[in-house]
Amino acid sequence: MTLLPSAPPPKKLGLVIDLDVCVGCHACVISCKEWNTGGYGSALSDQDPYGADVTGTFLNRIHTFEIVPEGGEIVGEAGDARIVHFPKSCLHCDDAPCVTVCPTGASYKREEDGIVLVDEDKCIGCGLCAWSCAYGAREMDLAAGVMKKCTLCVDRIYNETLAEVDRVPSCVRTCPANARHYGDLSDPGSNVSILVAERGGFDLMPEQGTRPVNKYLPPRPRDRLADKAMPLAENSDGAKGFFAWLDGVLDRI
């Protein structure tokens, strides 16, 4: 097994994902793929890329599902079915079971910022970490035989060859709907902490006890159009009343 850092990292870098605006466009999924397939560690391979059984390594995926609220939920009225697009990548948990389960020390959590990474030189591809991850956020690369996972674009966020504004994960930089936010969740004054506080950001599956760093923002409250009513005009019947009103308005212009 592998140890987690003995003290809480001074920073908890992570993502805040806004489910109120994610339209499921997959921009983050593909941007992640193209950045990371030529970046940290081995390439993100695709098997049978033009064939029947196409499959590939993606560090970030979107799960799309339908819910039909029974009423009272923040997401909508009873019976008002809706589609949820749920982006999911490694949540860089404080209590990351994928680290402690690793038999070789390949899987580790960085002391300085809490990012969970895999040292591919040490990874034997046993798959225990993927098995232990409650979120299914790890992917075995079939070509390399090593475990791949979200690095929070560690080779971007500290990359001094990039303009400062670009030192964010690829998925955050590309998201057209501004649904992805990056920052230090241990700092209550950070942009991401403020978002979490203001919008009621929540942990994914807190009952798992993994204490994920990444947070999700719920949909904003909505109200029904059917409850809106137009103030009635005086003499609202028929064309005659309308034209009388119109003449009055024209006189005032």
Binding site: I30, A43, D155, Y158, D223
Partner: protein, 949 residues
């Protein structure tokens, strides 16, 4: 155990960044292409680019896989086996171009209309149209007829612009945004960025769409309307707003034709037309002097109601009187339309209430003095912060033109066109119909060996401008601008193959297509179209469509039906211009255009189609392509972009003109223009002065700016045409009282559908088939991660949509005993398909749907024959016929909007029956052989492995 950082954190991304313009869809975002070791390392959004401000969608990021796709063609191909066999031989470009000239030159000499040149997802229409015009054929159009011409035509004829490329919501100020019929759109990144802004500000986003995918998924309110009834919903909202007096009377008087007097003389040739003075100016009734005066007279106070006597003794009423009487009628009351639309009366009322409340109770003012076209000074711009957007869901119906007109009427009634917080025009729009050409293609417009006398496409002002012969028969191969579809402003590409095959109105010699997958997802009745392409004349043994030239970058389904294939480059290997003469990328506050340039070199024998077209033009010695000695005028497309002038000083690009590159809009040729664009990130942007940014249709400063920029040579203000006189002219022809008279067979149809005020009528297919036999609707939605058939072969994107299923409402599933994974037959009047199904609740209860253009023909696009796209994926196209069912009048009517000819894809009516489980969807076609040299298709991709750290 404890570890130090083992990661190289500060590696440069690549060796070089080249900024160009994306072409993974029609959004045209700026991209930074990072190159490493001569390969594409990474593509990201250009932060400086006004369209996408740094963001990029899935398609854009997958450009790497598009560029390195094994589906790419590698050299010109000449067909050697029968059509469809995929048997070709590779030939040289010189051979290919000589052959094309051998086919085209005799056509030009003998009868240029025997060439039909149609382009698909073309972004160089100002060049392709010019080429066709100089060739002399009347048979040219791009793909707007099967895409969204209803949107463009209804918009331009009503407000002088339309959604998407002509304008955008004022994302920074709007407080209520209502979107109709959009799952995903061409304007994909700006819409996502805009929705995020709205949500952050707490503005309301309402989506009207039968299916709750895409943007509808995050809408604050989703209205799951029944397809084809949006017009009724909109007119019911108008009814409510009129009843509640929630209209902007001042705006209507100033900017619309509401006060214009309409002649009331039933049975006469000018009944329903505007009363005009001797100079053609519309007349209004002035209430102070109680006189009929021409519109525009200083200080006049027009009346909007009542019946007045004209100087010639006849009577007339302000058009607004007709409008108000029509929509105040209780047939448009929410209760009256609730059942048809599938939207509750309470929801319709609530929508109207919110529109009215936000427009009037939350009005905003931008404190910027400005002057209108009458010279009147205003202290600020009043804003009605309600904005709308709409696309295919409204336009792809046979009542789409009228429905889009209804939406624009609603915008004008609340004063929300080009105001702060409303829908705002993007230059060079607004542009009134008067500033558009009328179509050219009459017999006197063309002939042997000479150019067409004017542009092909435009707006007929009345029946007199139709392209028909003396018997009223169509003159164009697609029958555009005929009585079939008088205002088919973008042509009718979906009718070309059927008409050419039938020799109706005449046979053609050469069909020349660019980027249009007509043998698959871009045609209705796909199997029928394939047969037409393969069909031979029994007497001569020759194909009924004798010669087909096709240009595409990829081995699409269409390639195998071509006789000569001209392989195009990818978007990263070419020059292009995104031109104000064509399909602009301006923003409401800025005039913009852009270029592409070869950021990587082709590794194969392919050429950019535009350069090939210039070469063909020169070989054919077309005027405008050769000088007086017959020498080519342009070296290639890049040279054309810089040196071509449409009018003196006006060329494809507006930026960096003049010999020093300091002129904008109008200016001399600048030989360094492309260099300047590249240095600027491959785009150009010029801000509109503050006082010219709103009310552009009537803003003196904007109109002066537009003239200075060269959009127009004189100011072209727009008066919004709520009442559309051109439509009434067609009605008078159909009534038989105004020449030219409509042919008998067309009369009833025109009378039923050409209402000069926005109207709703039942979509044609729904009206033609029995509701018992075909009780449901079936539609497609555009996925965000793919653009039509492009992208389906992309190794990364196809992992998002590897196959499509038919989503069926829960109650239909229950009625039919269908559960996820079952197979079902979906049956229309035209055909049946067998498809896998999945249950869904978030959709209109009478509507089933699937993703657009995922289904592939086995073997096409360099995918394996057993790829899921080809095995289980399917097209809805097999259910849709290009003609409506026979109705006993001996005629077969096009399955199109009767005004514009827009293909009515979403009129489809179906029933569904459970089927035996299957392995493949039906119909299933024989696999396509790979054209030309088979590509090397890797069994595994490890893109970027050589850069692994």
């Amino acid at each position: 155990m404890r570890f130090e950082s083992r990661v190289a954190l500060s590696e440069p991304v690549g060796d070089e960044v080249r900024k160009t313009t994306c072409y993974m869809c029609a959004c045209r975002c700026g991209i930074d292409v990072h190159l490493k070791d001569g390969k594409i390392r990474y593509i990201e959004g250009n932060r400086d680019h006004p369209v996408n401000r740094g963001v990029l969608c899935a398609k854009g990021s997958a450009g790497i896989m598009q560029h390195y796709s094994p589906a790419r063609l590698r050299a010109p191909l000449l067909r050697t086996g029968p059509r469809g066999s995929g048997e070709f031989k590779e030939i040289s470009w010189d051979e290919a171009l000589k052959l094309a000239v051998e086919w085209l030159d005799p056509v030009r000499q003998a009868d240029p209309k025997k060439l039909a040149f149609f382009t698909g997802r073309d972004q160089s229409q100002s060049l392709t149209g010019f080429w066709a015009q100089q060739f002399g054929t009347p048979n040219y159009a791009a793909h707007g007829g099967f895409c969204s011409v209803n949107m463009a035509a209804a918009g331009i004829m009503t407000i002088g612009g339309a959604f998407w490329e002509f304008g955008a919501p004022d994302w920074d100020r709007t407080k209520l945004f209502v979107m109709f019929g959009v799952a995903e759109d061409h304007d994909s990144n700006p819409i996502k960025m805009g929705i995020a802004k709205l949500k952050k500000r707490g503005a309301r986003f309402v989506s009207v769409n039968p299916v709750r995918t895409g943007y509808s998924a995050v809408a604050d309110n989703w209205i799951g309307i029944r397809p084809g009834t949006d017009g009724l919903l909109i007119l019911s909202v108008v009814h409510e707003l009129l009843k509640a007096r929630r209209i902007d009377v001042d705006y209507l008087v100033r900017y619309s034709n509401a006060p214009w007097l309409v002649i009331d003389a039933p049975g006469e040739a000018d009944h329903g037309l505007f009363a005009r003075d001797g100079d053609g100016n519309a007349l209004i009734y002035e209430t102070v002097t109680e006189q009929v005066v021409p519109v525009g007279r200083q200080g006049a106070r027009p009346s909007l109601s009542g019946r007045v006597q004209l100087p010639d003794g006849r009577h007339a009423v302000p058009s607004f009187t007709l409008l108000a009487e029509k929509y105040l009628d209780k047939q448009y009351a929410p209760e009256a339309v609730a059942e048809s639309t599938g939207v509750s009366a309470e929801t319709i009322r609530g929508l109207a209430a919110e529109i009215g409340r936000v427009a009037f109770d939350e009005a905003i003012v931008v404190d910027q003095p400005w002057t209108d076209m009458n010279g009147q000074r205003h202290d600020g711009f009043v804003g009605r912060p309600v904005s709308f957007h709409a696309m295919r869901g409204l336009s792809a119906h046979s009542n789409g033109f009228q429905t889009v007109r209804a939406l624009h009427m609603l915008q004008v009634l609340i004063g929300a066109v080009d105001c702060p917080g409303g829908f705002r025009f993007e230059p060079p729009y607004p542009k009134p119909v008067a500033a558009h050409p009328s179509p050219h293609g009459k017999a006197e417009h063309f002939g042997s060996n000479k150019p067409l006398s004017g542009p092909h496409l435009g707006f007929p002002r009345g029946p007199e401008d139709l392209l028909v012969d003396e018997d009223g028969k169509p003159l164009r191969i697609d029958k555009a601008f005929s009585w079939d579809a008088p205002i088919s402003a973008h042509g009718m590409m979906h009718m070309v193959i059927a008409n050419a095959h039938a020799g109706d109105p005449y046979p053609i010699d050469v069909l020349f297509l660019y980027m249009a997958n007509m043998a698959w997802n871009s045609s209705m009745n796909t199997a029928g179209v394939i047969k037409m392409l393969e069909d031979k004349d029994e007497a001569t043994g020759e194909y009924r469509i004798p010669k087909i030239i096709y240009s595409d970058a990829y081995a699409s389904e269409m390639v195998n039906y071509a006789d000569l294939v001209l392989p195009d480059t990818t978007y990263l290997e070419r020059h292009d211009c995104i031109s104000l003469l064509d399909r602009p990328i301006s923003e409401p506050d800025a005039v913009q255009d852009a270029i592409r340039w070869p950021v990587v070199k082709p590794d194969r024998d392919v050429r950019a189609f535009q350069t090939v077209l210039l070469d063909l033009g020169a070989r054919l010695k077309l005027p405008g392509f050769v000088d007086h000695r017959g020498k080519a005028l342009y070296e290639d497309y890049a040279d054309y972009i810089v040196r071509h002038e449409r009018r003196p000083g006006i060329g494809p690009l507006a930026g960096f003109r003049g010999s020093d590159g300091d002129r904008t809009g109008r200016g001399a040729i600048n030989k360094d223009q492309l260099k300047r664009y590249i240095e600027n990130g491959s785009f150009f942007s010029a801000h509109i002065p503050l006082e010219a940014q709103f009310y552009k249709h009537a803003n003196r400063a904007y109109q002066d700016f537009a003239v200075k920029m060269g959009f127009f040579d004189t100011p072209q203000p727009v008066t919004f045409q709520l009442y559309q006189e051109t439509l009434q002219k067609f009605r008078l022809s159909a009534e038989g009282v105004r020449a030219p008279l409509a042919p008998e067979a067309h009369r009833q149809r025109i009378l039923d559908t050409f209402d000069p005020l926005p109207d709703w009528y039942q979509p044609f297919e729904e009206a033609a088939v029995s509701a018992g036999d075909f009780p449901y609707h079936a539609i497609t939605q555009r996925p965000a991660a793919m653009y039509h058939s492009w992208g389906s072969m992309n190794a990364w994107l196809r992992q998002i949509h590897t196959k499509n299923v038919l989503y069926v409402p829960g109650q239909i599933c229950d009625a039919q005993g269908l559960v996820d994974g079952d197979w079902a037959w979906v049956i229309s009047h035209h055909g049946r398909i067998k498809v896998p199904v999945a249950r869904m609740e978030a959709l209109n209860a009478n509507t089933m749907w699937t993703w657009n253009a995922i289904g592939k023909r086995g073997g096409a696009w360099a995918l394996d024959r057993d790829a899921p796209e080809a095995q289980k994926g399917f097209l809805m196209n097999h259910l849709i016929h290009e003609l409506l069912p026979p109705r006993g009048d001996g005629l077969r009517w096009s399955n199109s909007d009767p005004v514009t000819g827009q293909a009515a894809w979403y009129d489809l009516r179906v029933r569904i029956e459970k089927a035996e489980p299957g392995a493949v969807s039906e119909p299933h076609f024989a696999d396509a052989e790979r054209p030309g040299q088979p590509p090397t298709v890797p069994a595994e991709l490890r893109y970027g492995q050589e850069w692994a750290k």
